[in-house]
């Protein structure tokens, strides 16, 4: 076994507070790995936190179930892990002014066609960012299986450490999220725009593929070229 405990607490400096929106396949796993990396985490679904209390307790021990508005209000980073078809009804003012991680995918063969995301000139995160005009949007955590995110974590420098792409139009927001990814247990490779984040989408060269940093950079460059 690799010494995963080395990942658990990396720093004594206060880490940003994270709110995970979504308690489905993906949300609790992100909450769990962020907790293990030492971040303070709250988790919210669309309604009463009581409804997700048990899920949080068992699948993300320590993450605090909250009403979405309360969780987001106190958070430095908001992770959107809701079903994409629920996104058009998300109250955009809820995350106004926040750094938002878009972990969602537009994946028609699995989840069905959605009109809002059918304009293929834009990646799904660009469309998300367009609607969340008052938020800073960063795309990541969408191209690794929710079933892999916990067990594939490795300490920095481990030979088989996997790489995740981090795409944003905002360099500062991208840097904060890249640090989160590194702390969780993955190498982060920055992509300079949300538009480039299309490389992380279903059908792209890194979607669901376990790659080390050099392989990841090569795969992304080969398509971008």
């Amino acid at each position: 076994m690799l010494p995963l405990h080395q990942l658990e607490v990396l720093s004594s400096a206060p880490l940003p507070r994270i709110a995970v929106l979504g308690a489905g396949h993906v949300g609790p796993v992100i909450a769990r790995v962020a907790m293990k990396a030492g971040y303070p985490v709250s988790i919210a679904a669309s309604g009463d936190p009581e409804k997700i209390e048990l899920i949080a307790q068992v699948l993300a021990p320590g993450a605090e179930p909250r009403w979405a508005a309360d969780a987001v209000g106190e958070a430095d980073i908001v992770v959107l892990a809701i079903p994409l078809h629920k996104f058009p009804t998300l109250d955009t003012s809820l995350v106004g002014g926040k750094l938002v991680v878009d972990a969602m995918n537009y994946w028609p063969p699995i989840d069905g066609v959605q009109e809002m995301f059918e304009d293929r000139r834009y990646g799904s995160s660009e469309i998300v960012a367009h609607r969340l005009a008052r938020s800073t949007v960063v795309k990541t955590l969408n191209h690794i299986g929710y079933h892999e995110l916990d067990e594939e974590r490795r300490p920095a420098g481990a030979p088989r450490r996997r790489t995740l792409g981090v795409a944003s139009d905002d360099p500062r927001g991208g840097a904060v999220v890249a640090e989160l990814i590194e702390h969780i247990g993955y190498d982060a490779v920055r992509l300079g725009s949300l538009s480039a984040g299309r490389l992380l989408e279903p059908g792209g060269p890194v979607f669901g593929v376990p790659l080390r940093r050099a392989e990841f950079e090569l795969a992304v460059r080969a398509v971008a070229a």
């Binding site: 489905g24 048990l54 307790q57 699948l59 079903p83 063969p109 699995i110 069905g112 979607f207």
Partner: protein, 372 residues
Amino acid sequence: MDPSSHQKERLDVTTTPSDALAASAGEPAQFPLVFGLDTFGDVTHDEDDRPLSHAQTIRNLVEHGVLADQVGVDFFGIGEHHTDDFPLSAADVVLSAIAARTARIRLGSAVTVLSSDDPVRVFQRYSTLNAVSGGRAEVILGRGSSIDSFPLFGYDLADYEDLFEEKAGLFAELLRGGPVTWQGKTRASLHDQDVVPHTESGPFPAWIGVGGSPQSVIRAAHYGFSLMLAIIGGNPARFAPFAQLFQQALERFGRAPLPVGVHSPGHVAVSDDKARDEFWPRYLEVIRHYSKIRGFAIPTKESFLHEVGPHGALYVGSPETVAQKIAANLTALGATRFDLKYGMGGLADHALMTNIELYGTQVIPRVRELLA
């Protein structure tokens, strides 16, 4: 009922080691170990590697169910699909044919796509199967990984959660028996409606198949359905928190514990090499086809071997290899049932028959021995 006396009673009626009522030695101890086979009706190929017709595939499937019964498999399940490579859209009809030629094996869906079906019709069809088979019917409700039934029957996938929630609730009412009064958004209301055929001895077993949604786990507990974990990739042990979540949710809803099962794909042959050599090219071909449609990575031989190994989700190998893996994962997950999804598009029918025979005569007794 006191669980220990319940188990004793079950032990007393057990006559063969493969009987579905044989005692469990794993955790939790109050449920018997059950071993099933599931199929999606994957189209097999003839001796010249040409696909068999849909009709022949279905007739072969009946033979698979009959053989499974003969070699001591406890359950035979058919998963609803609507595609050219999985032409099994009317599972209950095939199961009825198997029922007519068997006396022991339990028969069910794996899964019934309840969201795009009518819960009243699902109840009627499986209650009819229950009658035909002398009380051997089961259902596993869920979505599966294919979405073809939604456009086919005029449903919007975006409504999936709402459809499933409401229909699972109605199905639970129907299963309880007696006249049903129900109102919702997804079908016509029912007012003190008697739905037939009535079951002879209470509700037949119902499960919810879960692929990774904790809300589905909570829902199963809420309605009192058993939990079937569909584990088709990655480390099976990672599902242990789901089994835990299920039992805790049952407790919170004031329900007695219910069994947890595991459904995973695999292939059994006389040796590890033969099983892999038969399975890998067909698996690659099928996954390559779906990776194009669905936009995910094509597996490499290396990733395949990882899935076949102790930390992966595929049960491909000799009877001993597969039995060891089943025993280890049932223990890790606190589960008492395992359903092997056998077959893979393009395999020859005789390879499937060998798989079924080895699973019944060698794998199942060996797992029971390992868990005794």
